[in-house]
């Protein structure tokens, strides 16, 4: 969930940092502005960072610990850029702009990939969701259908067969849910 939140917010954070720092605001004040809210998990991270800075901890150390906490590449890169600005006085605005452009391209690509990857989900879901119950329904009524064929197949206990059907239905449901989970885990975070 954290990585999804990060990837959803990071581009807007970059744009805000670009506007703020491009108009002359310092890095610390820009971080403070974002920590005020509106950028989900990143606002919360920055809020914690500001609290620690106000307690007297150095910005560099706080950015390093935030770097360890970050999960997505984009967020890590932004923190790294901030860190470089603090330690080496690099041109943060230009780097952020480039990162923003690259991230936008990546987002477009990931949405296209998501749409392509989900193309197979309905077919897979329907294959499992339809074949499983069809087989299980025939299995479930088999003991009564083949009552006269006990000599051929041996006795079939309806209770035992129903237990097998129930387990099968549960597994089918689980399989459907697992396939559907792909729609969640691959979400590009728009």
């Amino acid at each position: 969930m954290r990585s999804l939140d990060e990837s959803r917010e990071i581009l807007y954070v970059i744009r805000t940092l670009d506007v703020l720092m491009g108009s002359g605001v310092g890095l610390e004040a820009a971080i403070h502005s974002i920590s005020q809210g509106g950028y989900g998990i990143i606002s919360k991270d920055f809020e914690g960072l500001m609290e620690n800075i106000n307690k007297g901890r150095p910005l560099e150390k706080e950015l390093r610990s935030l770097l360890k906490k970050a999960e997505t590449d984009g967020y890590k890169r932004v923190i790294n850029t901030m860190l470089n600005n603090v330690t080496q006085n690099t041109d943060i605005i230009e780097t952020l702009r480039k990162q923003g452009e690259r991230m936008e391209e990546t987002r477009t690509e990931s949405v296209k990939e998501y749409i392509e990857e989900l193309g197979g989900v309905p077919e897979t879901l329907l294959s499992i969701g339809m074949i499983g119950p069809i087989i299980l329904s025939i299995l479930g009524i088999a003991p009564q259908l083949m009552e006269d064929a006990e000599e051929l197949f041996g006795p079939m206990d309806q209770g035992m067969i129903m237990s097998i059907v129930n387990v099968g239905l549960f597994l089918t449901l689980l399989g459907m849910a697992m396939i559907g989970l792909k729609a969640h885990t691959k979400d590009p975070g728009l």
Binding site: R15, T108, V111, I115, L118, M130, P133, L145, M162, L190
Partner: protein, 243 residues
């Protein structure tokens, strides 16, 4: 036949409960749809508005004047909201009116834009370039969102129709044809297992299709109704086909 169907419903308290819940939740599911249509209308108009504001600023107009011109031009929900905002700004500050506009839109995109505009005004940043950049950004974002919606909508409907309608009908057909009630087949536990399965499978199908479109929470409002539809199709199908 009609009476035996009604009798079947009478003997299935869980199904009756889900039907009642389904109707109630379906009514609750309408406002999120209406709200989404309204919000997407605003969001799709946003890039054009930002571009027009940027152009007007470039032509030397003030932000408030540019917004007035845009409010007159835009006939959609965004234009209406903008008009209200500008009317309010006579009684309060322009900054407060922008904040109120963002709140009224109930759109995270508009809220972000207004927040960034307020910050840019506060910091004396070059607003024209910022608005042009934002217009481009949000146009791309909306294109992606619209593309996702149009590409995945068909697939999501397919999942719901097959799992909630096609599957129970198919199984009911098989059971009704091969093990008809009139010939004395005992299928109480079988039917109850499959009814529960169809209900749960419908829930999974609704969740997956909602997640595919990026709105699982609002899709879940419709889950009880589809569960009821699916379970009813199975029960009625077995009864009608099985005689």
């Amino acid at each position: 036949m009609l009476f035996s169907i009604l009798e079947m419903f009478r003997n299935e308290p869980l199904l009756l409960f889900i039907i009642t819940l389904g109707v109630a939740c379906a009514i609750g599911g309408i406002p999120p749809i209406l709200e989404r249509v309204r919000r997407r209308g605003i969001e799709n108009d946003l890039p054009a508005m930002l571009e027009a504001l940027s152009d007007s600023l470039g032509a030397g107009l003030g932000l408030q004047q540019a917004m007035m011109a845009e409010a007159d031009r835009n006939t959609g929900t965004l234009g209406k909201l903008l008009k209200e905002t500008l009317a309010e700004s006579h009684a309060s500050s322009f900054d407060a009116a922008l904040a109120s506009f963002a709140t009224k839109s109930r759109s995270s995109q508009v809220q972000r834009v207004m927040h960034l505009m307020s910050t840019a005004i506060e910091q004396d940043a070059p607003l024209q370039n910022i608005l042009a950049d934002m217009s481009r950004d949000y146009e791309r974002l909306n294109d992606l969102m619209n593309r996702r919606e149009s590409d995945l909508m068909g697939r999501s409907i397919l999942i719901i129709m097959f799992v909630s309608v096609g599957l129970p009908f198919l199984i009911a057909f098989i059971v009704g044809l091969f093990a008809p009630r009139t010939q004395g087949f005992q299928l109480e536990s079988f039917n109850s297992s499959f009814t529960l399965f169809f209900g749960a499978a419908s829930l999974v199908a609704i969740s997956v299709s909602g997640r595919m479109l990026g709105r699982m929470r609002s899709a879940l409002w419709w889950a009880p109704l589809w569960m009821a539809v699916s379970m009813s199709i199975y029960h009625v199908g077995v009864l009608v086909i099985g005689g």
